[in-house]
């Protein structure tokens, strides 16, 4: 319970925001940041804790979004049920891709490449298949009732995505403290050694990828309900794969709060760029890419690592060695 306290406090604080301001700009900004935090948390489980870097988390995000939208629009299924099925579908796609690639022993560059390829295949299929609306995309009809997962104001959306982020934080914390979490970290640190000690590494990676995909798919489902429109480029486009890994890496890879911290910083940077230069296409991503390289080069443990170093330095002023050097770059 003590380990969950920081999560509950953070969530409680964030939950008060709509009571303080009803500004659509602020809420919209925070909804997008929380959405990226959620999507990034999915990536973080597989990439941060498991060491398997996926460049194609769009595959899960897009599947969640499309399943949610298609079930509602083509089959008249209730939106909330659609979201649940969307998350399950995303998890299934994760399990299938994971089973195929881990059983073939793909890791490192090859794993990144195959996940990227799957996301691209899904994008191309979605841009030509009739059921996804092909090039036109899928529009969810406006129906502002809570039963339809649509709301008059942004506040309920904000609380829902906040709740999802909170759940993902608790889930990751529980995994971190579990035997499964220990196995996963062992796989990241030294897969051969973990296997030699009797860990079924393929199953561990597969389980991580399935849960990871489910979390990211939840983000996709929420996206569909929030914007009520998706097309192949949004749902399966490379942008979401990049943001999914950007948030945890900048915030602190393999830490519970990393994706949330990273998403807030990334989105703030994005908004600042827009303020300074106007709505120029591309410039925010130039900065994201630059920050990604700088973080990898100079702060491999992200913001969480910098904060830990600061705390370390403040609490024990006599030791001049920052924690990152003691523990090495890992």
């Amino acid at each position: 319970m003590r380990r969950l306290a920081p999560i509950l406090v953070a969530m409680a604080l964030l939950a008060t925001v709509p009571l303080i301001t009803s500004s659509n700009v602020v809420l919209n900004f925070l909804v997008m940041a929380l959405l990226i935090a959620l999507v990034g948390q999915g990536w973080n489980l597989l990439g941060g804790y498991g060491g398997q870097y996926s460049f194609g988390h769009a595959a899960f995000f897009g599947t969640g979004a499309y399943v949610t939208a298609i079930l509602q629009m083509r089959y008249g299924i209730n939106a909330w049920l659609g979201v649940c099925v969307g998350i399950a579908a995303g998890a299934l796609v994760g399990a299938v891709i994971g089973a195929l690639s881990f059983r073939s022993g793909l890791k490192g560059s090859y794993f990144a490449l195959v996940t990227l390829a799957f996301a691209e295949v899904l994008r191309i299929i979605a841009s030509v298949a009739p059921i996804t609306g092909a090039g036109v995309g899928t529009l969810i009809t406006l129906d502002l009732r809570p039963e339809a997962f649509q709301f008059q104001s942004r506040a309920p959306f904000y609380w829902i995505v906040l709740a999802l982020v909170g759940l993902s934080l608790i889930l990751i914390r529980m995994i971190e403290d579990s035997r499964f979490g220990a196995y996963l970290i062992a796989v990241r640190e030294n897969e051969d050694a973990a296997q030699a000690l009797g860990v079924n590494t393929t199953m561990v990676k597969l389980a991580a990828m399935t849960i990871s995909a489910a979390i990211t798919a939840a983000g996709g489902c929420f996206y569909a309900q929030y914007f009520l429109f998706i097309d192949a480029g949004i749902a399966y486009g490379p942008w979401i794969s990049v943001e999914a890994l950007l948030a945890p890496i900048i915030g602190g890879i393999g830490t519970v709060f990393g994706p949330l911290l990273g998403a807030l910083v990334v989105k703030t940077l994005g908004e600042l760029t827009k303020l300074v230069t106007g709505d120029a296409p591309g410039l925010d991503l130039v900065i994201y890419g630059g920050v990604l390289i700088l973080v990898v080069a100079f702060a491999p443990r992200g913001i969480a690592g910098i904060l830990a170093d600061l705390r370390h330095r403040l609490l024990s002023p006599r030791t001049a060695v920052p924690a990152s050097l003691e523990r090495g770059h890992g």
Binding site: G51, L106, G108, V121, I124, S127, G282, V296
Partner: protein, 290 residues
Amino acid sequence: MLSSAILVPAVLNGLMTGAVYALIALGLTLIYGVLHIINFAHGALLTAAMFAAFFAHKLFGLDPYIATIFLTPLFFLVGYGLQRFVIGPAAHGEDRNILLVTLGLAVVIENALLYAFRADTRTINLPYAFDIVEIGTAFLALPRVIAFIVVLAVALVLWLIMRWTDTGKAIRAVAKEKLGAELSGIDVAHIYAVTFGLGTACLAIAACLLIPTYYVNPHAGNAFVLVAFTVVVLGGMGSVAGALIGGLFVGVVESLSGLYLGESLGQIGIFAMFILVLLFRPSGLFGERV
């Protein structure tokens, strides 16, 4: 059933397209063979080279084939600098970090191009772009025939460099045994950068070969590089012969599946092949190192 009158030109055209794929794949496989990393910035660098070839024509009236003389060394230097001063130092020697740094570079380059030139699609007009060469029953566009010949020449030059020059020998030494090479006095960081430069220089040549018949926009390079990934995986990461044969093969497959299935499904055919090879034979059909 399609007669040979349609089939032969389709195969020949596929070979011509495949040659450019092979050249792009050659750069990718060279970098992988020596540095053991997949360069995710390859596509963005190709796009940058295509823009360079476009503006060389637009601003200075340089014919793309003549621009090769200037752009190839320029992009060699770009690649050298990127590896020596960005990727190498930033990655701290960790493979996972190299992946992220090349991805970061790709995002930066692609979006900087988007910011500078917007999403507009640009083409250049050359008087000879629509000239036709007749080979047997097939009519082939002149720029594609030139591309095919140039790629073969580049592959030969590259082979000669690797085989007979000191730098080439050093590159092969580093690819085989990095520590041993370092111990015998080879500057590994320099050789890494040279290799990255050579791979990037291949892109400059490919861009000059593409621009007479193809368009350029900030995402133009991506389509080619995804194909090049397929080629490289098919031919075996790090195998130069594999890249050449794989490139020609994929070109023909694409041309034929385009003929039978239509344009967009032809693309899926390539991806399907890519994923199948990755899953069932990740070492490729010619899996060997440079």
